[in-house]
Symmetry: C2
Subunit: 338 residues, 2 copies
DNA sequence: TACGTTTTCGAAAACCTTTTCGGTCGGCTG
DNA sequence: CAGCCGACCGAAAAGGTTTTCGAAAACGTA
């Protein structure tokens, strides 16, 4: 009936419409060299067979698959997902599809996935890391453009898109200062993370501009956990009971801070304001009180990555590190001192 | 040098090895009809050109792309991700790649993605929904097998894989009972979710078997939020101050429960045990004390979906609803009464 | 040497589409 | 009527691979 057991092909459409394969193709692709009447015939036939063109064959000719690879190191990580969504979003509207590959932080698996993606002739790659520190480059002589998101590449010849952690730290402290806070402490996470130091630096810079010193006598490095937030807050209060604000390096830590402040019967935000980092909704929005925090704009980063890649696919790729600014989210855990 | 500007093709390999394209293909694919010496020559040539076969062309012939589509309705949703990871995991080892598509809960976008995936000639589809209630089928006459994960299809002719919420509720209450708790309350989420009722039913069933009644006089339905967990706990304590355990319908709710129990100076787990649902690590593991909870085995569900799909690709697909059991995670928020 | 058998290799078709280029047909001008 | 032009259509090549089938080579046997 339709020419065989498989899916209908352009040949079937052409036969049904009573034209040649070439004209059928032209009709479906809005080429000008076909009469309106003929085009209608073809379209009707295609509709009738519910024909959908074989993208593989198209790609074979046009040398463009309309696919990109998304190589993530850590899917469960909360940072890959928004980036991935942003990228999917930016592509989704067009005719590009995304191959998702999770390397699970394993180098050989990453290599394996990379080869598979190249075999599939993806038009480009986005590599999103698990943590904001630099990672090894995939190499300089890949046949497709590559964009590194979140984790920059170690090779400055690559193009990397990262969040502005220094600016984020500055943003948080600026917000506290504007609300009249003067005795601001900073509790943050794992000191092996560059991001922890960057955020701290931004915070200290802004304090210095105001002629303020960090309350608590130091930046409290530890781990990115609620438990550390609790522990550090206890130590902090012991050492310096008079703080009026805490900048936490992550929302998890902030939750720990809130917990201990409640235990100590300190009113939030009246006596102590708290601000977090990440805008991890489930933690921040549901906190008691809801947590002000710094959002890294990861979806925007993902979208930008997609756009840059898109531009690079026909054209040439830039290099270096491009920084995306953070955004302040104010909720009830910070408020002006009255 | 390598025969042109583009990537090396089989033709280039053949030329370099001094054989025909056909033999080159056979050599690379371990076909038996080629002399060992010739095969070595070809392999060396391929290596030298760092040749990787064009999967598109292969797919065109073999009528199998080695790709599957993962159609999710809600990427940011915490339930899609583990399933997605499980599926990626099960496929990743082989030679299948995954197209990720997020419909954002929008029907026309879903249709759009579906068409794109079919155009790309995916070998199969996994559809993962945003909530555990039934969703419309994609249709019966798709040219590839489809598996519904998490959200079952409304059409019983489709194959759906879901979590056993009744069993999960039973598991939670059973755990509490075994630890000597008798006055068990249940606070859960949005009553428009079938899962909320299923979990409650499992809980009530197990209580009935023991001749126990639900403490608090009712199942407390509300919303899947920490705030509701707090509010419900306050009402519950007012009505029935003597509870010795709370089964929360989600970890978020459980966090709210813990919060209020702490405020009321009730010792956990000595006076009141708390168990959650979801095993959402960031909430459960970091709670004070760490939260016992029920894990839905979503990665396993994803893996199973991949396996079922794989089996269906060559073979025929089953139908109906297949249920995956839950798993108890015990942490410190539950302990035997002494 | 003649012949049969096994092994090894290559030519060509097939997969499905796009695109170029040449051809047909109608109508128009001189 | 001859010639030309524009509009429309089809044959065929191309893209990279797999696979079938026939041909050639190598080998053993009579």
């Amino acid at each position: 009936m339709d020419g065989g057991p498989g899916r209908p092909t352009l040949r079937d459409v052409a036969r049904l419409a009573g034209v040649s394969i070439a004209t059928a193709s032209k009709a479906l692709n809005n080429q000008p060299q076909v009469r309106a009447e003929t085009r209608a015939k073809v379209l009707r036939a295609a509709e009738q067979l519910s024909f959908s063109p074989n993208t593989l064959a198209q790609a074979l000719i046009t040398q463009r698959t309309g696919t990109v690879g998304l190589l993530t190191s850590d899917l469960e990580g909360r940072f890959s997902i928004p980036i991935l969504m942003g990228a999917e979003d930016a592509f989704g509207t067009g005719r590009t599809s995304v191959f998702l590959c999770d390397a699970r932080g394993d180098n050989v698996r990453e290599r394996h996935h990379l080869n598979a993606l190249l075999s599939r002739r993806v038009d480009g790659l986005i590599v999103v890391g698990a943590r904001p520190d630099a990672r090894p480059s995939l190499g300089r002589d890949l046949p497709v453009p590559v964009i590194y998101a979140y984790s920059p590449s170690e090779d400055p010849a690559d193009l990397s898109l990262v969040t502005d952690n220094v600016g984020g730290g500055r943003l948080a402290v600026d917000h506290l200062i504007r609300h009249g806070r003067r005795r601001i402490a900073h509790i943050t996470g794992d000191p092996t993370y560059g991001a922890a130091h960057d955020r701290a630096r931004g915070a200290l810079d802004r304090l210095a501009e105001e002629g303020l010193e960090l309350a608590g006598g130091q930046v409290w490095f530890g781990s990115w956990s609620e438990a550390w937030g609790r522990g550090a807050t206890r130590m902090l209060l012991e050492r310096d009971p008079d703080i009026d604000a805490v900048f936490a390096g992550s929302d998890e830590i902030a939750r720990g801070v809130l917990d201990v402040l409640h235990q100590e019967k300190l009113a939030i935000p009246r006596q102590v304001a708290v601000i977090g980092f990440d805008n991890w909704n489930i933690l921040a929005a549901n906190a008691r009180p809801p947590l002000s925090t710094v959002d890294m704009n990861l979806e925007a980063l993902g979208r930008l990555a997609a756009q840059r890649l898109f531009a690079a696919i026909d054209g040439t790729l830039g290099s270096g590190i491009e920084t995306i600014g953070c955004r302040l989210i104010t909720r009830e855990s910070t408020a002006p001192l009255d």
